[in-house]
Symmetry: C2
Subunit: 658 residues, 2 copies
């Protein structure tokens, strides 16, 4: 019997019905579909790009690589970062092979890696846009070029693919890329004292370092973080020196430096400003490097960003980005629901950030937010059929408004087949395919169970944990721990913030009352077997926002367990704004196996106004026309499942007597 000093998680097999449906969808629908799209073989309609920069009706992503590899002739098409669609797909493939081995798919991926190797230059450089269209401008337009962002995504894919398949070639390409970047960037004479306009390389280099233990990759990531914003004129000087002729991405010249988190050194940045996806990718990189180097300044920075985002700038669904202009954060408590952005990629990025923070310290809030993103903000990015996607995730939508008011035209009310800027579909795919990596975090001799997703997990020392539940619909979570070597370790279970007032815990069928410490209860394990049963509070909750959020005043969001609900027009009588939840409203939960692949639905007591007539005056006195309420119900479905039926209004926040 020994105390474990450094437990290792070996593998996790997901047994959750909820998640396995999505994970099978990734294998059966999403990956083949995305592959055909990237090969321009799918018969699809590409949505007007939210950034209105789409230049192609095809993806052309594989063709760009083939052109560079001299397999075909032609021009680059798509965004400068078009390659990343391929890399994120490859990363998702890697994760899928772990739970669903597939020789055909592996063969396609291996061949793709061969193609990528052929496209890579001798010095390691790879960005098809610059190789095809502007080889003389490599690394000379970093504000808009996305070159390091692009290679970062390949490095992430390669790390994943190597870990699953052992494909050395894939890893070598990544090493060559990282070496190329290392040779070109830094404060040493002759190197570029800069960084990419879009953070990503920092987290990618950290992952490469974790795999290879090659210190220079970590040093390079550290350099990029420290150098960012040191010289606010760096980007524009580069462009001036190279001679400005046109934006690589239309309109980007007008964005402020804060859009790129490059207005000042990151240690000086007090709030999360600018493009939300850039912010969370940057934060993930900061958290990685802070953990791997122990740098306290960086740790302070990532906690500061975390707190600003989570406590002041996040929607109740976990979505972030309050404006379509620059897909950006705006200011504290500014959370409009019908003009917001809430990009899928930003929510996916928040899961990366949360996961890293959990690896730094066992704080339940990181698990809370990770859960919020997994079950709401990220998941809404993909349709139930796996072939349609949201880029923007509003909390309030109305097809009439999206069509009729240009300030809401970025809000689609039906998921699109694909996007000109297709960052989101592959991002959500790689998240779902790797969700097994988001359930446990190990700190020395402590195993943290922070996500309630049924699984069978194996740790070293022959420790195994079987987690069983029907989450998110049911709050009964059971763990069977096998510990044949009778190792001593702590098992921490997150008590979600939505359940902290009311939960029940049993160890070996006996009630226990343990203190909640930073969101976790800790159980000391030393016997060879242990049964833990946790019963969470699955009451329906009416959530209100801090009243500094103007847009949510007098409204509630309805939540049950981790699931945030919404009302859709088709389940109610439009317009949704005429409903009001009564002061002492009762709400009833019902699992409906036949609706939207099986969902928990909620009905809430409400009252509703008769819709005024078009012949009624536009304005009249309250006394002339008093409010005319009658009894009704509001029918709600999970937010992640909205927009899977006919087009119509949707709203998360619902009027409530207050």
């Amino acid at each position: 019997m020994q105390t474990c000093t450094n437990l290792e998680l070996n593998n996790v097999k997901i047994t959750s019905e909820f998640w396995n449906r999505y994970r099978e969808l990734i294998v059966k629908e999403v990956l083949p579909y995305q592959w055909s799209v990237m090969n321009d073989e799918a018969n699809i309609h590409i949505a007007d790009d939210p950034q209105k920069n789409g230049t192609t009706k095809n993806s052309h992503a594989i063709a760009n690589l083939k052109i560079v590899a001299s397999k075909i002739k032609g021009h680059h098409s798509g965004f400068p970062f078009q390659d990343t669609d391929v890399y994120k797909w490859l990363e998702a493939v890697a994760y899928s092979l772990r739970y669903h081995p597939n020789d055909d798919l592996k063969q396609i991926a291996d061949k793709l890696i061969d193609l990528i190797a052929e496209a890579q230059e001798y010095d390691g450089y790879l960005s098809t846009y610059f190789q095809i269209e502007a080889p003389e401008r490599k690394f000379k337009r970093l504000k808009q070029s996305h070159e390091l962002y692009t290679m970062g995504h390949y490095i992430e894919a390669a790390v994943a693919y190597y870990q699953v398949t052992g494909n050395e070639k894939a890893l070598n390409i990544a090493r060559k890329m990282a070496d190329c970047i290392d040779n070109n960037f830094g404060l040493e004479k002759g190197k570029i004292p800069g960084y990419d306009g879009h953070p990503e390389i920092e987290l990618a280099l950290s992952r490469l370092y974790e795999l290879t233990h090659e210190k220079k990759y970590l040093n390079l990531a550290y350099y990029f973080l420290k150098q960012r914003g040191q010289d606010p004129k760096f980007f524009d000087h580069q462009i001036e020196q190279d001679g400005f002729d046109h934006d690589l991405i239309e309109g980007m010249r007008n964005f402020p430096l804060s859009y790129y988190q490059a207005a000042e050194p990151i240690v000086d940045q007090e709030t999360a400003e600018g493009h939300a996806v850039r912010v969370v990718y940057l934060c993930t990189g900061i958290a990685y490097v802070a953990r791997l180097t122990g740098d306290q300044d960086l740790l302070t920075v990532c906690k500061r960003f975390w707190n600003n985002i989570v406590k002041k700038r996040m929607y109740v669904t976990g979505n972030i980005g309050s404006t379509t202009t620059g897909e950006s954060f705006t200011y504290d408590y500014d959370l409009p629901n019908d003009t917001m952005y809430g990009e899928t990629c930003a929510s996916v990025g928040m899961t990366f950030f949360a996961k890293q923070m959990l690896q730094i310290e066992p704080e339940g809030e990181y698990g809370d937010i990770l859960e919020k993103e997994l079950f709401n903000g990220s998941l809404s990015g993909i349709s139930l059929d796996g072939k349609h996607f949201f880029y923007v995730n509003p909390l309030e939508a109305d097809p009439t408004a999206s069509k009729g008011n240009p300030g809401k035209s970025h809000i689609l009310t039906r998921r699109a087949d694909w996007f000109g800027c297709a960052c989101c579909p592959s991002n959500v795919a790689r998240l779902i395919a790797s969700v097994d990596q988001y359930i446990y975090t190990v700190h020395g001799s402590t195993i943290l169970s922070h996500q309630f997703i049924s699984n069978e997990a194996n740790f070293d020392n022959n420790i195994s944990i079987i987690q069983s539940n029907n989450f998110p619909w049911d709050g009964n979570i059971s763990y069977k721990i096998k510990n044949p070597g009778e190792n001593k370790f702590k098992f921490g279970i997150r008590i979600p913030s939505w359940s902290q007032c009311n939960y029940k815990l049993q160890v070996n069928k006996k009630d226990v009352n343990l203190p909640v410490k930073s969101g976790f209860v800790y159980i000391f394990v030393e016997s060879s077997q242990m049964q833990i049963d946790l019963s969470l509070d699955m009451c329906i909750q009416f959530i209100r926002a801090n009243n500094r959020v103007k847009n949510d005043l007098g409204k509630v969001a309805v939540q049950r367990g981790p699931i945030v609900y919404c009302a859709e027009e088709m389940d109610n009588s439009a317009p949704l704004w005429l409903y009001r939840i009564k002061e002492q409203a009762q709400a009833r939960y019902h699992y409906n196996d036949h609706l939207l692949n099986g969902i928990g639905t909620i009905k809430v007591d409400a009252e509703v106004l008769n819709e005024d007539s078009k012949d009624d005056l536009l304005y009249t006195t309250v006394s002339n026309k008093p409010y005319d309420w009658h009894e009704s119900k509001l029918s709600l479905i999970p937010y992640y499942a909205w927009g899977n039926r006919d087009d119509g209004q949707m709203s998360v926040w619902l009027n409530k007597e207050y």
Copy 2:
């Protein structure tokens, strides 16, 4: 004793304290100030143009004319329609000379007319932008050129200036312009089968016709109205034929044809679409021509537009234009308060439209809307000191939001010194200077008194009317009619919609009870003297919107008489959204002589929530943190007077228990 057949209104002298303060401001501050701005002699800060097309930090409007007249050398600066600032100023000068003769000012104006004459080409053409920068493109870019719009504004100014001063030269320039346009436009061979992208010439030609009785001007106006939208490809064909190189006004190529009301013939247009100012200028032209020609199709069109705007698309303050994109209408009942546009010019244009409709038929609603615009939507465009202006008039504003959320950056919370696109300052000036023309409308032997603005009016047959009141603060309106010839005529008084449930009318000190017919009561006059006393309902009213307006649900606007009120942060504790007017709230009115040049203020019983702390959770359950109301009051001021003190929040719509 005879029945009048066609009464004529000779002149109106305003005695209203409220309006005379503004009218003296026009003379003493606004006109000299605007003259110095247009001559680039004012030390001002020009606000970022709402359309972001400002190319100059100076107005340069007079300089452009001097360049064309070969007085100085240089390039054109400003918008293609920069000349109109001068013309609208000249028109305001004309009106001012009627109530405030000023030889110095008249001399300046006469000299300006000399300059304009020198700038005009032999054929009558005058548009300094094209004359200086692109003479080969005259009339070849009508979608964006504003040439007829520009000349239309001169024609309006000339008609007014000639009527007041008899300056023949001014009128001859206008005639030559109209002849030039007549020579170039029409369906005859060799003429341009088109029209201007910005309606205005139609109403200007109608005014010129009314003065000169030259039928061809009316025919030309009729042609423009009938031809508009007949060939939806006309504009783009013109540009293609001329060879496209760049937009005259950046971004305009992206606007749909509906922006220009050119997507289809106007008789087919069902709703008010596109740029709000264009719509109301067009409507004014349609109403003019419908009246002057008796064309029933045009009459139907202008009534249809009227109803759509007033009954579905107008803010409670009279402002119109629900989106900054294209400064446009959106769709029925879409009236967001904090992202809206509500351009000052659009409200001014509505007064033109309403006045024309009143000349067509004695319908009280036209007078109601005219009053709404005069006392609210238009008047808010100018500061109390006459030197600061709103282009955009929001119903809800917050400096933090304007600064921090790009979707609200078009909303200024302080009036600007001037604008790159300076259409609004001179438009509101010419309206105020001519408000004497908006009080009475004569139909044959009927005099309609539709605006309550103290005045002394003289009609032919020696009929005179002295209207006395302290409106808008007091609802007692008295008329002394002198009719020494004992002519028989009807005197119609508008009973405003806000007073139709409760008003008192006395004729010669005796109560009378007359039917309200389409918003008017009619008194038959035949004696040599008559005293009429009307007492209007000045109760404070809580106004609600039709509940199809999502953004106003659960809110009220507070109105007293014609004045719509708003809450400003400085009179209350911020944030304003934490207040709620109680169900049976009492409201008290108090005239404060010392505030904002003298205004009626209102205090309403309300309750207010304690502002949540920044340390409070962003989201929590309602049961964890119930609403914490305490008694309070809301202090309100007239909407037109907002933004004249320190920067802060403002809101017209206020939460109300509902």
